[in-house]
Symmetry: C2
Subunit: 344 residues, 2 copies
């Protein structure tokens, strides 16, 4: 049997803030059956994770930069891979049966032809909404858990600052920090998000950075005694202001630097004298390096959700057509919580 | 008995590159005997350590900066404290006898009146030149040891880059790295220093940064596979280039940022995307936090010196009059190795 499979591509490399017109929805004929000797798996995609880091893969990298390229580049006109949850339609692999629910690195498409190595795991439990496995119980949750607990080694009572606190990762970091007994302030880009942080997610305080003119003073107001832990999702001026307001032996985990992903973003220039004299530790990290704590993360986080101590904030859009606006919206702060495309 | 004691002061706060005219040599009447009830110690100073960090204490700090002030400020017209080695002239304290050699935080002066708390330790052994206890066997050595071994946790065979490699700390870091079996490249500001690094200190390679036009390309040339450990003494553009050329899981220890101590210095703006994707760890530190490893450091380093495996590079000037030019010279790269004023 053959279907029309729709998939999303970029038309060209993207250097600046992405626009919907950068994307195109393509259609291909797609066989729902496998060749007899194939050990691949065909998956019907149900939920597609939309993440800011993908923009870094959409840039063109020229070799003169001296930097490593940021993971595997996305090629204009070709399928885009990312975290997806789907249902197995056909399998040439004994480990996967028809109707299995699988999480893996599939494509921004209605159907994906998948190698075994691209399947991260089967989702056996339906206790939680499926999409949670892309967010709070997936890589966003692991990013929050590993970056906060493993890198920052926070102590009860410490002062924690989280940027893009109403985003997929920040919203979880802030809740972890509260559960540990920290004082937590988040920043976000709208009053609605600020209200969410304070009223629904239990942050001690929150502010709308767009209403602030001097971030140094803002952070001084919220942290008169200084910041112990800064969980950074934005980079730029917020990172500078946070470093200025850190306490001695402060720790910064850089999960992402969304304000610097586009070429017009101001690059962070944190005060190195502060870094030396306050013995600040700044670390970049990727959740993928912390698969060794996945079980621990998953067990604890499931318990927190089950007992209502941790809330997943999701922002769902429907259908392949919604991918461009969903992705572009990430960089305009449109989403509240984890952005997911539902194809279910 | 009373002597004329000469001491050095700053005339006013110093914001830019220091000039000799910023300093003044003052004279005061100074009693070489103590009041009967005093438990202080009078020290005749023999060697004064001249260190770049003192410039940060000579600045004026206004409270609006939001930063902590960098240790205790130096006040114009008043004595300047720093690491000094001296001989006890008179003591009201049973722990210290006349003619004891002591290392501590005394003043840039011929004589200092000292509280017990300002004496770090007696120097019991005369196996090494006294001045070594200000450099390779003192805080410079401890900075090199702690920053390199404790923070960077280097492995044999790793690629190590050291800036101001012919300076008091860098010259020791490079030698430690070679003793561990690392590949070590240093940068310095003259051909004479570069020759010293390669011919006397055993660096695998070295370059004169003043002859380089594009530090990114320079580091790419010396580290085609990337840098594992960067021991930073300068900050600024060198820090940016090093981060760009780091390998994944690279470590940066920031010991000092001499290029940023003056207000006209370009502030480092390391690529945060590199920090995230390469999981770079950047840490500032102060040697004073690592007194717990002092014994270990001292024993190993003494052995290395004794067996000729580690060389102390000193740059001695004579007399109180030489302090301004010695200090100013630090920021022009005049010194080769540890700058010490000898009053002996």
């Amino acid at each position: 049997m053959e279907v029309k499979n729709r998939y999303t591509v970029i038309k060209h490399h993207i250097e600046d803030a992405p626009k919907e017109s950068n994307f195109e929805l393509k259609t291909e004929a797609f066989a729902l059956s496998l060749e007899p000797e194939s050990d691949d798996i065909i998956v019907k995609n149900l939920y597609i994770s939309i993440d800011p880091y993908q923009l870094n893969r959409m840039k063109s990298f020229n070799s003169s930069q001296g930097t490593i390229s940021f993971s595997v580049p996305i090629i204009p006109g070709e399928t885009i891979d990312g975290a997806v949850i789907g249902k197995v339609v056909a399998s040439g692999n004994a480990k996967f049966q028809k109707d299995d629910l699988v999480l893996g690195v599939f494509t921004w498409a209605e159907y994906s032809l998948v190698k075994e190595g691209n399947i991260i795991r089967k989702i056996e439990s339906t206790e939680f909404p499926l999409s949670y496995h892309l967010g709070v119980l997936g890589f966003n949750g692991l990013s929050a858990y590993a970056g906060f607990f493993e890198l920052c080694k926070p102590l009860k009572g410490e002062k924690v600052f989280v940027s893009t606190a109403a985003g997929a990762v920040g919203s979880i970091v802030g809740q972890y920090a509260k559960l540990l007994g920290c004082y937590v302030v988040g920043c976000a880009g709208s009053q609605k998000k600020v209200a969410l942080l304070k009223e629904k997610l239990g942050f001690d305080d929150a502010f709308n950075y767009k209403e602030e003119t001097d971030l140094n003073s803002t952070l001084k107001r919220y942290f008169p005694e200084g910041i112990d832990v800064y969980f950074d999702n934005v980079g730029g001026e917020m990172l500078e202001a946070a470093v200025t307001n850190m306490k001695v032996f402060g720790r910064v985990a850089i999960c992402g630097v969304i304000s610097e992903y586009t070429s017009d973003g101001k690059k962070a220039s944190p005060n190195t004298l502060d870094i030396v004299y306050k013995r600040i530790n700044i670390r970049g990290f990727l959740a993928a390096d912390f698969l060794n704590v996945f079980e621990d993360f998953y067990t604890k986080t499931s318990d927190y959700i089950r007992t209502g101590k941790l809330k997943m904030i999701e922002d769902l859009s429907s259908g392949m057509e919604s991918i461009p606006s969903a992705f572009v919206g990430l960089f305009k702060g449109d989403n509240i919580g984890k952005k997911v495309i539902s194809l279910a």
